[in-house]
């Protein structure tokens, strides 16, 4: 690699990851002010995490929302990906384009318009409204992942199962489902992570029970809480990285098992 390119790459990565690298640094720093020089090592901030009931409620709320959103987005993703790879129907390209649009739509627009619609309909805000929003933004990711899982499948496989006496549904269950399972797991994990980390939609659509990111944002007003937030952030980053790594592993293993070329995927 040429020298300027190498410098650029290092700067780029530094810019990308330095702030995140600061999280654990201050999470273990024995001082309430987020500033250098560091003042010694402590587990204290992590210990405090365990003693805030409102935080625990927010974590539980977030987990519940993330699990349900991930399942719903993945189910929708399976249906859409199968339809898109198996059938030709009029307007298919346009419909798929519209489904994928939330990938690039500013989240604030999605959040505000959802809020307006929900209020107009007279629905009260709560976990379900956040789930709706999260399904909306996670589904395109699910479809993209599952599309690549379904695309690699030979369509004669299901036909072969039918030919050997199975019904359409049992063929799907016995043949297609196991083959796209790595894609499904990958989609579940990514949708879960997206929902868990998402702030804007949750901020607009949450009711009285905040999700974790919304709770964190609320805590930012209290400077003395910052080290605790850093500690929490550290845990979240680790969890996200772990989940995404598992997701990618599942996707690659699936591709290898069915003998496909590795194509697509986000990582």
């Amino acid at each position: 690699m040429k020298r300027p390119l190498r410098v650029y790459a290092i700067l780029y990565l530094g810019f990308l990851y330095a702030p995140i690298a600061l999280l654990p640094v201050f999470a273990f720093n024995d001082g309430t002010v987020i500033a250098f020089p560091l003042r010694g090592f402590t587990w204290d901030w992590f210990r405090q995490l365990a003693e805030i009931p409102a935080l625990h409620a927010a974590v539980l709320n977030s987990l519940k929302i993330a699990v349900i959103s991930a399942i719903l987005a993945t189910c929708l993703g399976v249906l859409a990906a199968r339809a898109a790879t198996r059938f030709a129907f009029p307007g298919k390209k346009g419909i798929m384009g519209l489904i994928m649009l939330p990938l690039v739509l500013p989240e604030i627009i999605v959040a505000v318009s959802l809020l307006v619609v929900l209020l107009q309909l007279g629905l009260s805000l709560g976990a379900w409204t956040v789930i709706m929003g999260h399904v909306l933004i996670a589904t395109p990711f699910a479809i993209a992942i599952l599309n690549s899982a379904f695309q690699g499948l030979d369509r004669s496989l299901e036909e072969a199962a039918v030919d050997l006496g199975e019904t359409k549904w049992s063929s799907f269950r016995l043949v297609t489902l196991p083959l796209v399972m790595p894609g499904i797991i990958s989609s579940l994990l990514i949708a879960f992570t997206i929902s868990l980390d998402e702030f804007i939609i949750a901020f607009f659509l949450t009711g009285t029970e905040p999700t974790l990111p919304v709770y964190l944002w609320g805590q930012m007003r209290f400077p003395q809480r910052l080290p605790v937030i850093m500690a929490l952030g550290t845990i979240l980053v680790l969890a996200s990285v772990l989940l995404l790594a598992i997701a990618e592993y599942a996707r690659r293993r699936g591709a290898a098992r069915t003998g496909q070329k590795d194509a697509g995927g986000f990582l």
Partner: protein
């Protein structure tokens, strides 16, 4: 041997079968009877509807019109999973997440057999295709030829009334293909099940089949035994598709119920006997007649014959080791014709530009209706 087959009862009957994909007319009035226990081939160029016809028999495509009977039963409304047919797919469609044994035993899931009985059947089926002991292997780690055998065993284990094969050999290399052609033929004789093979390879169809349906553009152009197809193609198109055939313009001088006399360009006058009389010839009319390369021969200097003789010049030749294909331009004919000669001892390969006398018979002329 042929005679018992000729008498065999029809196992599949197609009556004026039509298939449309939207506006596209893929099958145009297909009627045929396929007999119990025969090796039947659907032969035709790419896109002529062979796969479509096979898939309508298997139940993967609905008929747009017409009727289909399998073993006397109307198949209208019978889904693919309840038809007494099994299929070997072009891609083999081996389930990659299952072992070889699980693949082969897949169709037995609903058979009600015990685990041990199923395992015995699987092993038997694997042995039949020469894969005894392969049951534990992962299916995605097999070679092309092995996948093909697994697909065969998986389809045959259910003892279908009819086995459908969609270009099963096209993915194999030439050597493997030649070997599998023989094996497939032996297997078919051994199990006695009706095989319907789709292929676009005319040689493969000729080698393997009891009867062949030649298809063009969604229609059956000719349904016959390999020998009849080769010797008596009903149209120029069939003659061209199967093997090599020369075509010459010919004018009918006499045409009645008992014989036709034609004047074939370059060859001369020929009387066509009653066993090869197609309709549609009228005196004075010019049409093409066909003649196969191996039915003619080039006479060596001093060689005599009681066959008819025409004269011409060797324009080009292709040497194949056992055979030589000569391009000979007969006097008074524009296009050279292909003549194939065995390379025998004492018969040196002729050179380009040699004056040649060509021996031929009126009996080997093919007239088209």
């Amino acid at each position: 041997m042929k005679d018992t087959r000729t008498e065999a009862r029809p196992i599949i009957t197609l009556e004026a079968v039509e298939k449309y994909y939207g506006d596209y007319h893929a099958l145009r009035g297909i009627s045929a009877e396929i007999r119990q226990g025969e090796f039947f081939s659907l032969l035709g160029p790419s896109g002529c509807g062979k796969t479509t016809l096979l898939r309508t028999i298997a139940g993967f495509e609905d008929l747009s019109a017409g009727r289909l009977f399998i073993d006397g039963q109307d198949m209208a409304g019978v889904p693919a999973n309840r038809r007494p047919t099994n299929m070997v797919f072009q891609s083999y469609a081996i389930f990659p997440h299952l072992s070889v044994a699980e693949n082969v035993g897949f169709g037995l899931r609903r058979s009600g057999l015990s685990r041990a009985e199923r395992a015995a059947k699987v092993e038997q089926a694997l042995a039949m295709v020469g894969l005894a002991g392969f049951g534990g292997r992962a299916a995605h780690a097999l070679s092309g030829g092995q996948r093909q055998r697994v697909a065969l065993a998986r389809a045959l284990i259910l003892e279908p009334t009819v086995l459908l094969l969609d270009e099963p050999l096209s993915a194999l290399d030439k050597k493997m293909r030649d070997q599998m052609q023989g094996e497939l033929r032996r297997l078919q004789r051994q199990v006695g099940i009706t095989f319907i093979l789709v292929t676009h390879d005319q040689e493969e169809a000729l080698i393997m089949s009891d009867r062949i349906a030649v298809m063009f553009e969604g229609q059956i152009a000719q349904l016959d035994t390999p020998q009849m197809l080769y010797r008596r193609p009903v149209s120029r198109k069939v003659g061209e598709f199967i093997g090599v055939m020369n075509f010459l313009p010919a004018r009918a001088t006499v045409a009645d119920e008992t014989h036709i006399e034609v004047e074939a360009a370059g060859l001369g006058r020929a009387v066509i006997g009653p066993d090869q009389l197609p309709g549609g010839w009228h005196p004075g009319q010019t049409q093409s007649v066909g003649i196969r390369p191996e039915t003619m021969s080039i006479l060596y200097p001093g060689e005599t014959t009681d066959r008819r003789v025409a004269t011409g010049v060797v324009e080009d030749l292709s040497y194949y080791g056992d055979m030589t294909y000569y391009e000979v331009r007969l006097d008074g004919v524009e296009r050279p014709m292909t003549i194939s000669m065995k390379n025998l001892v004492g018969r040196p390969v002729l050179e380009r530009g040699t004056e040649a006398r060509v021996a031929w018979d009126a009996r080997s002329l093919v007239l088209f209706a």
